[in-house]
């Protein structure tokens, strides 16, 4: 039997050998076929290279040169930016803004999304959630101005009731900007949460409920663990969006706003206007590095949890 078996095995082996070769050949052919996608990537890759990678490489080069690129200045621009008070202020404000906005946005949007997920006709309000994103920034800023300027609507109400008016675009400008960011991004983030919550199999919740779990336990042990991929996506998007709030700050208070909302992009903008190209390039390299490290760390944490 053994012999027969071996013979059979040998047969198999003998049969396999030409079969494996054919499979390899097929695989090789398949690989060749797979390479055909490359030309299709070319336009996109060319665009990214021309409009993102090369300019960034040029920024890196310029960060080691004098403002108009006439002479090599070594690490001078980097030394200057770290000694620069405005840079430190802008970094501090930007970090503070991101630090305040991210948890607030993620927390508030999750609560709203969780509450909405219980509704039967949640699809109907989905478009409403995207409404703030559809409003042009310039229009939104105009509304904020009408509301919050020194002679704006809110101060008008305060004055009418005998209360002291507040300088919303002065010392309280930071919180106006936080409000603006949350308002603009809330709907979109709620939508992302909702999509995540909806994609969790109802069988899991029903099984848990059958086992006696209440809605709180379901939330913490079923829903939240299953929303980790969504959390990762939301965190990355919100983090990057927090850097885009410059548009609002710039339109609201110009290139030299109150110190509390003086962000990195203000500094970059003003350095550009003042022709400080070297410092601007050095700061961009630093900011890119920080963002890259932050995103990589987030990804590493995520990958670790996944595995």
């Amino acid at each position: 039997m053994r012999g027969a078996g071996n013979a059979a095995a040998l047969d198999i082996g003998r049969n396999t050998a030409p079969g494996t070769a054919a499979a390899l050949k097929k695989n090789r052919k398949k690989k060749k076929t797979d390479m055909k996608y490359l030309p299709f990537l070319l336009p996109g890759a060319a665009g990214v290279t021309v409009f993102v990678l090369l300019p960034f490489a040029d920024s890196v080069r310029r960060s080691f040169f004098t403002p108009l690129g006439q002479a090599f200045s070594g690490m001078e621009n980097y030394r200057e930016i770290f000694a620069n008070e405005a840079f430190r202020l802008a970094v501090k404000n930007t970090l503070l803004f991101t630090g305040v906005c991210l948890p607030l946005l993620i927390g508030i949007s999750f609560i709203i999304a969780y509450m909405l997920s219980g509704l039967k006709r949640v699809q109907l309000i989905r478009s409403l959630l995207l409404f703030p994103m559809a409003i042009p920034t310039a229009t939104m800023v105009l509304i904020w101005r009408v509301l919050f300027s020194d002679h704006g609507y809110i101060n008008g109400i305060l004055a009418a009731h005998g209360a002291d008016t507040a300088g919303f675009l002065g010392s309280k400008a930071f919180w106006v900007l936080v409000g603006s960011y949350i308002w603009k991004n809330l709907g979109y983030t709620v939508l992302l949460w909702l999509t995540g919550i909806m994609s969790i199999s109802s069988a899991l919740s029903e099984a848990a409920k059958t086992d006696g779990a209440g809605s709180v336990r379901c939330l913490f042990y079923i829903i939240m663990p299953n929303l980790r991929p969504t959390l990762y996506t939301i965190t990355i998007i919100s983090f990057l969006n927090s850097f885009k709030v410059f548009r609002e700050a710039y339109l609201l208070a110009g290139s030299y706003p109150h110190e509390s909302i003086y962000l990195l992009q203000h500094l970059f903008n003003n350095w550009f206007v003042n022709m400080d190209i070297g410092k601007m390039a050095a700061a961009s390299v630093c900011v890119f590095s920080v963002i890259f490290i932050a995103v990589s760390l987030l990804k590493a944490v995520w990958d670790k949890e996944e595995s």
Partner: protein, 775 residues
């Protein structure tokens, strides 16, 4: 599947090709630039020729040309008569004509046909005064108000609709008699005679009349209330009605009395090139004219060129690019070409700042080889365009491209970013007008060349007023030269002038005078922003830290004084304009001081006949009053203008040097002495001479509201010495970059209007300066 893949491949290749196309596109752009900068050889062009206009004085030039019977005519109004000019060969001959001596009139516009018939618009001061007085009384009665102490006159609705003043618009008979028409002079806005002897008139209330030159009877042809105060240009049977502040032109067929519908292309051209709405400021106000061409064709001339439009066509075609011709020349009297006629056979006569110029198409003329030089300026300036025109005439082999940063609504930031983009992409301008830019910063970044070594080449042999021209000379070099300058001045009652040493004292005196006289001082504030601009220019040295920036610690006192001075001026929103003129001077206030109506005046002096003669006239007219150069008497302050530097990245340094040489040359600076204080020593001295052609004056309203024409008197020797003494000791340049100046003006204007407190205004500026310094 295969087809789909092939299609996808083709599409992707197309996308890639378009991406590559972008790259090659930029290549082709630079190729075009190279072509522009090197050789432009092409046969056939309009050749410019300046006609013999020696018989004309500069003030005579902005007159309407009239083409009739193969000749060109124009009439220059004078006292009780006019000079009639007729084309003769390559020049004009003139004849002095006298109008009916029984009627003492001062013509302001006059046109005469070859047969001796004509029409005239004129001032009748007596009638106008009585008209103003009557209207003032009506306003007062209606509003039950006391006399307007500021002396401002407001037109009532009745006035605007044409009060019957009893003074008629007149036509001229071949016997030089004046004949009344049935139109009131106050109603007439403009008129034009046509070759066939017709007279068309536009009214201030939007009516178009045809007037019979034999009987003086008018016939209403067209009416549109929106066409108020429009000019008229006749092109055959079509009347083109236009107003620079309107964004469209109206073409009326005088035979049918209907307006043409299909003039979209003409209106678009108008909006883009001439209408004031498309412009950023009143400094871009320009003259223009329209004339008849071949059947159904009109020609339009303005500073940007000469254009042809065929009625009903969908394009306005440029025949001559104004930028490289005398069409772009401007000065105070000529904000561009004021009249054009088509002589036939591709030949035009244009009346412009250079004189009367003929443009004739020469099919054999070849473009000469030209080098392209780029000049950058944040804002458009007449002084700059004049300098460029002078440069072009002296260097016909150099083509100049003028780039204006802050145009079409672009902000300071946008403009500077664009400039920097050009610099880093090796397309930097060759010469940069540094007015409004942060000169020290540009120097620090290495964008400007040290001009010290070029000084022997660019300094004119006549010498320079060095304190002004070379104000920016520092230990490490000279990075800009100034083409002109302005000086502050203050005038008031002799006793009070001794008390004024700075802005604070000026405000004290203003408040005291307001209290003593019981009425506001007349600072002729057009707007709070205009007021702030004027004060910052006059007293800016009190807050300038000498580094193109402001000293925050001194701001509080400065703004506080501004607030008090503004308060004493009695400005209200009712009398507000929104003018923030670049060349702001309160000549009204100095003139009022001449009348002894008001007792304080201050402002910047930008030129000789209109400004310096104005303030020196204070002594001549009012022996109790006195003036002084410099607002703050601790320094000899001035505001340098037309500061020009050479870009370190320029590869046309030689051309840029030539431009600086022309800028400072006698030829250039003499050509606009009536609009600025020149830095060329000889040109400045020419100003000091008694020049009849530059005599000036102004129409002012007395404190009782009466219009008075005040003629400025020329300076005497002692006054000239006093001026030269100040000029010789200029030591403090008041210079702010546009961003800082705008911040100072904006916060100051908000404070003086009471929108924010003094602390808030100071905080706004200091936080801005603090952040900027940190950067």
């Amino acid at each position: 599947m295969k087809i789909r893949r092939t299609a996808a491949m083709v599409l992707s290749l197309m996308m890639a090709a378009s991406a590559a196309g972008c790259a090659s596109g930029s290549g082709s752009m630079s190729e075009t630039a190279n072509l522009n900068s090197e050789v432009q050889l092409q046969k056939g062009r309009y050749v410019e020729k300046l006609l013999d206009t020696d018989v004309l004085s500069k003030q005579d030039l902005p007159c309407e040309l009239l083409q009739a019977g193969g000749k060109t005519y124009f009439s220059v109004p004078g006292e009780n008569g006019f000079a009639q000019y007729t084309s003769e060969g390559e020049g004009f001959v003139s004849a002095q004509e006298t109008l009916d001596p029984s009627q003492e009139i001062t013509p302001s516009k006059l046109q005469m046909l070859p047969d001796g018939r004509g029409a005239v618009i004129y001032y009748d001061m007596e009638a106008l005064s009585s008209q103003f007085g009557a209207a003032d009384e009506e306003t007062e009665a209606a509003e039950e108000e006391t006399a307007d102490t500021t002396g401002d006159f407001e037109f009532s609705d009745d006035t605007m609709n044409g009060i019957d003043t009893g003074v008629r618009f007149k036509i001229i008979t071949p016997e030089r008699k004046l004949m009344d028409t049935d139109l009131d002079i106050s109603e007439v806005s403009d008129f034009e005679l046509t070759e066939d002897g017709s007279l068309y008139v536009t009214s201030i209330n939007g009516r178009l009349y045809k007037v019979d030159l034999d009987t003086g009877k008018s016939k209403l042809i067209y009416e549109d209330a929106e066409l108020s105060m429009h000019n008229i240009d006749m092109a055959g049977k079509y009347a083109v009605l236009s107003n620079i502040s309107d964004d469209k032109v109206t073409v009326v067929d005088t035979e049918t009395g209907e307006a043409l519908d299909d003039t979209a292309a003409l209106n678009e051209f108008w909006k883009d090139n001439i209408a004031l709405q498309g412009m950023d400021s009143y400094s871009e106000l320009q003259a223009y004219d329209i004339c008849k061409g071949e059947e159904g064709t009109i020609y339009i001339v303005c500073t940007s060129g000469l254009y042809r439009y065929v009625f009903g066509g969908n394009k306005v075609e440029q025949l001559i690019d104004g930028s490289s011709t005398s069409l772009s020349l401007t000065d105070t009297l000529h904000p561009g070409p004021s009249s054009v006629v088509y002589e036939g056979d591709d030949s035009f006569l244009v009346n412009c700042a250079a004189g009367i110029v003929r443009y004739k198409y020469d099919p054999e003329a070849e473009e000469t080889e030209r080098t392209l030089m780029k000049i950058y300026s944040l804002e458009k300036s007449d002084k700059l365009t004049t300098a460029i025109s002078t440069f072009r005439r002296a260097n016909p082999d150099v083509e100049v491209k003028l780039e204006i940063g802050m145009k079409n609504g672009k902000t300071y930031e946008d403009a500077v970013k664009e400039l920097l983009t050009e610099v880093v992409s090796d397309d930097a301008p060759d010469a940069i007008v540094l007015d409004g830019l942060d000169i020290d910063n540009l120097k620090e970044k290495g964008l400007l060349k040290d001009l010290t070594g070029y000084l022997p080449e660019i300094t004119p042999s006549e010498g320079l007023i060095e304190g002004a021209a070379l104000w920016n000379r520092q230990e490490d070099g000279l990075y800009s030269v100034a083409g002109s300058f302005a000086i502050p001045s203050v005038a008031c009652d002799t006793g009070d002038l001794d008390k004024i040493h700075d802005l604070k004292d000026t405000a004290d005196v203003a408040e005291k005078q307001q209290k003593d006289s019981g009425h506001s001082i007349n600072l002729d504030c057009q707007s709070p922003r205009g007021f702030m601009k004027n004060i910052i220019e006059s007293y800016g040295n009190e807050i300038s830290d000498g580094k193109n920036s402001a000293d925050a610690s001194k701001l509080r006192d400065f703004y506080e004084s501004c607030g008090r001075l503004f308060g004493a001026s009695g400005w209200t929103e009712d009398i507000a304009g929104d003018m923030e003129s670049n060349d702001y001077i309160s000549s009204q206030t100095f003139s009022s001081l001449c009348l002894d109506d008001y007792h304080l005046a201050q402002g910047m002096l930008y030129n000789y006949p209109g400004h310096i003669n104005c303030i020196t006239s204070v002594r001549d007219y009012n022996e109790k009053a006195e003036y002084r150069y410099g607002g703050d008497d601790s320094v000899h302050a001035f505001k340098p203008e037309l500061n020009v530097g050479i870009c370190s990245k320029s590869d046309k340094t030689e051309e840029a040097k030539k431009f600086l040489k022309v800028l400072l040359s006698k030829e250039n600076q003499n050509s606009y002495v009536d609009t600025l204080l020149p830095v060329n020593e000889e040109s400045f001295k020419v100003n000091l001479e008694d020049r009849e052609d530059l005599s000036a004056g102004s129409m002012i309203f007395s404190s009782t509201g009466e219009p008075v024409y005040l003629e400025y008197k020329n300076t005497n020797e002692a006054e000239e010495k006093e001026l030269m003494d100040y000029i010789g000791r200029l030591d403090t340049a008041v210079v702010f970059d546009a961003q800082t100046e705008q911040k100072l003006i904006e916060s100051g204007a908000k404070y003086i209007c009471g929108d924010i407190t003094l602390d808030e205004a100071v905080n706004e500026v200091t936080s801005f300066l603090s952040l900027r310094n940190k950067e």
